[in-house]
């Protein structure tokens, strides 16, 4: 009996170690495989440009809240545009910043990567979700200009929270779009950025290695994501769990490899919240790691069709799950908006103003994510039209009017009205549409969950018993 106990314990320990080592997989280091390379580099992984862009986005979001109602508009817009278009001088990282118990090693964008911008990597197709019939990049410039003129990034009259709109929209228009519609799409073709050549002249990484790394960088997850629970990842993004973030144990958080940015943060949020039945963060992360391993294993040779097929398959996993993450976030905030409307009922004065502020913030997140969904590889067609109609160009405001378009000067006009009930119904329809189209499972803030649970639980009660 003792012998059996011992051997089974050994087996459990061994199994745990094996499982542990598989899970402990990190994104890099991967060896330099470029044929003919004779430099000193030993790690071919490089995606600091993308991390720099994440800090530009987060900083832009913070800056969007610095307006004072018009007096500093020109100055603030110029500053915001410096972060959007890039700047010759090194820009301060406005967010994330070091704080007590969570020191961050970089404080300027240049310390991560020099000469980066958002503008050059921004989705510029049609964006019918926003008034004015503009292209994707014009929409965000319109938002930036309005943010600079607003008071603390808040437009009470039209119902806009500019920081939220800019940030969430950018998570689609730059990060999601660049990753799934560029690096993990066109750049996986056989004749584009081949693996037997450097990515560009003088580079120490191959075409395919760096394409994959760039795609990974936009995802915004730390290299050791597989060691993190969604809860830990979520805390890191909030600047809270130093121990979880600090993978190399040097006491500071390296934004390049140890921090959690937007897309990965929302994947963690979906896994951690709602029904807790999803595993987006680890699924996407594992696909990135496995894909990178396929490239490393090619050892600097051009990829075979089989190897490329594997990459395309991993890319599909990433794209599909990432799209779901955006749909989950849209779903969650549609639920928040629904609840906020219910909360505002019966409130007056200060309390109403406060509740309305929260409602506008949540609406900004809803709208931003709904727009982000429309910047991916898939043309959402009728789904996009439906979402845009239901959510509208702006939320229903306190006098029940809502933005219907722009006038000749580019000012918002609110020519129609809608009841709160009708707008709540639209939110329910948004949630239903997202479930029907994307098959999402986490469904945080599900406004039909209670109804479904109650109707399901009482189903058996429906007595067929007669007399």
């Amino acid at each position: 009996m003792p012998k059996f106990g011992l051997s089974s314990t050994t087996a459990i320990v061994a199994a745990t170690l094996i499982a542990g080592s598989a899970l402990a997989d990190t994104y890099g280091p991967f060896p330099v495989t470029l044929q003919g390379y004779d430099g000193e580099k030993t790690n071919s992984v490089s995606y600091s440009g993308q991390i720099a862009r994440h800090t530009l986005e987060k900083s832009l979001k913070s800056l969007a809240g610095r307006g004072n109602g018009g007096a500093n508009a020109a100055e603030l817009e110029a500053l915001m545009l410096a972060y959007f278009n890039g700047s010759d001088s090194d820009l301060e990282i406005v967010s994330p910043k070091s704080k007590d118990g969570f020191p961050i090693s970089q404080s300027t964008v240049g310390a991560i990567s020099k000469g980066k911008n958002i503008a050059g990597k921004f989705y510029n197709g049609a964006m019918p979700a926003w008034p004015g019939n503009m292209a994707g990049k014009d929409v965000v410039l319109h938002m930036i200009s309005n943010a600079a003129a607003a008071n603390k990034g808040f437009d009470a009259e039209n119902g806009y929270d500019w920081g939220q709109l800019i940030s969430k929209y950018t998570m689609g228009a730059m990060m999601f779009n660049q990753s799934v519609d560029n690096y993990l799409d066109e750049k996986l073709a056989a004749d584009v950025k081949p693996n037997d050549k450097p990515y560009k002249d003088g580079a120490y990484y191959t075409g395919k290695e760096h394409s994959w790394d760039e795609g990974f960088g936009y995802w915004g997850a730390p290299a050791h994501t597989m060691d993190l629970t969604p809860k830990q990842a979520y805390a890191i993004a909030k600047g809270k769990d130093l121990a979880a973030a600090d993978a190399n144990g040097d006491g500071v958080v390296d934004l390049k490899t140890e921090y959690v940015f937007g897309p990965a943060y929302y994947a963690a949020g979906a896994d951690k919240g709602g029904t807790q039945t999803t595993n987006y963060m680890h699924t996407i992360m594992q696909a990135f790691i496995d894909g990178r391993q396929v490239i490393a294993d090619a050892n600097g040779a051009a990829l075979t069709d089989d190897q490329r097929a594997k990459l395309v398959s991993y890319a599909a996993t990433i794209e599909g799950n990432w799209e779901k993450v955006l749909a989950e976030a849209t779903f969650k905030y549609a639920g928040s908006v629904y609840k906020d409307i219910a909360k505002m009922e019966g409130l007056e004065g200060e309390e109403l103003a406060k509740a309305y502020r929260a409602y506008v913030k949540h609406w900004g997140e809803l709208k931003g994510f709904a727009m982000a969904l429309q910047t991916g590889k898939n043309n959402l067609g009728a789904t996009a039209l439906e979402l845009n109609t239901l959510i509208g160009f702006g939320p229903v405001t306190l006098d029940n009017s809502y933005v219907t378009g722009l006038d000749a000067e580019g000012n918002f006009v609110r020519e129609r009205r809608m009841t709160w009930n009708d707008y709540q119904l639209n939110m329910l329809k948004v949630q239903k549409q997202l479930v029907d189209t994307f098959g999402i499972k986490s469904r945080a803030n599900d406004q039909l969950a209670e109804l479904e649970a109650l109707a399901g639980a009482l189903e058996a009660e429906a007595g067929a018993e007669t007399d």
Binding site: G456, A462, G463, A464
Partner: protein, 327 residues
């Protein structure tokens, strides 16, 4: 094997069902108490009366048992086809948002205990009322009576007689429950927001539970427990329901209620129980058979077809008589 057995006879250990063994046992105790304490019958005589072989092994009761099993099998096929309650509930919930004079969460500040109490009572009342209503229609409309006759063809009453219904009646009653709950649930969630829940005992609405532990099974029995007249205007006593099954002309179309008598009182169909009356149950052979299963299952279709044909003929006749070139 066990699964199939469970599938067919599971109702006997499901507290959501009237024939749950616990409720049956309590009904037995109530019947014994009634006969020995109030009617001064000896225990032996009381037991002999309750477990009367002529009742439990009558040809009619035997048909009940067979129908019980057959209907369970039908249910297995029919229930997946039934419209889901959640579908109706969602549609009603969406519709409520379009009603201008209602606000979502209008009574959101109501204490949870009040919401639960209101929900429990409302669900019980609406459920009982719609049962009354559908039952009344079953007797009033010839097409539905063709189906409901199956239940009334029983010549002896046992707790299992509650299952002596045509499968079509089961479908109609199931739909009734779905529509009722599918309306009340979203209405409460819409008006009160979160926290809507049912007060339950062993998973059953507490009021339904009370109905069952106070002898709901005695409604289909030969134990004629009656209440005080004032109470029989509020609650249907077993004797009142037995009277509903009576062949006597004066008892026809009376006491449609399930638990509450107030509906019959309001609609003028209430009949108080008659002390020591000996009732005959069943229908004339010309209307329905008490024992022939083929007749029990198929005659409703024939009767319905006959009724429809007769009405169609009358309609044709009426049209031809009125057309200008006739005659």
């Amino acid at each position: 094997m066990y699964d199939q057995f469970n599938e067919i006879f599971g109702d006997f250990w499901d507290p959501k069902k009237r024939v749950f063994f616990g409720y049956l046992a309590l009904s037995l105790l109530i019947a014994l108490g009634w006969m020995t304490l109030l009617k001064r019958t000896s225990l032996k005589a009381a037991l002999a009366r309750i477990f009367d072989r002529r009742v439990f092994f009558s040809a009619s009761a035997k048909a009940d048992y067979k129908i019980f099993v057959l209907n369970r099998l039908f249910t297995l096929f029919i229930s997946p086809l039934m419209i889901a309650q959640v579908t109706i509930a969602t549609a009603v919930y969406f519709f409520l948002h379009d009603v201008d004079w209602l606000q979502s969460g209008q009574f959101g500040t109501t204490p949870k205990s009040v919401v639960v109490a209101l929900f429990t009572v409302s669900l019980f009342l609406t459920d009982d009322f719609t049962k009354f209503l559908v039952h009344r229609w079953m007797h009033r409309w010839p097409l539905l009576w063709a189906i409901h006759k199956v239940h009334h063809s029983a010549e002896t009453l046992t707790p299992v007689t509650v299952y002596r219904v045509h499968p079509l009646e089961g479908v109609l009653y199931g739909l009734r429950g779905t529509v009722t709950q599918g309306t009340v649930i979203p209405l409460f969630l819409f008006l009160f927001g979160t926290g809507v829940d049912l007060a339950t005992v062993v998973g059953v609405n507490v009021l339904v539970f009370i109905f069952h532990i106070t002898g709901s099974n005695l409604r289909h029995s030969h134990v004629d427990i009656h209440y005080w007249p004032w109470l029989e205007r509020v609650l249907i006593s077993p004797a009142q329901h037995q009277l509903h099954h009576s062949t006597a002309q004066t008892h026809h179309d009376k006491n449609f209620g399930a638990a509450l008598a107030i509906w019959d009182w309001l609609f003028g169909s209430l009949h108080l129980s008659e002390k020591d009356a000996t009732l005959q149950f069943g229908l004339p052979a010309s209307q329905a058979s008490a024992t022939n299963l083929l007749d029990i299952y198929l005659r409703p279709f024939r009767d319905m077809a006959r009724y429809v044909t007769r009405r169609a003929k009358r309609l044709t006749h009426w049209i031809t008589r009125r057309s200008p070139d006739a005659g």
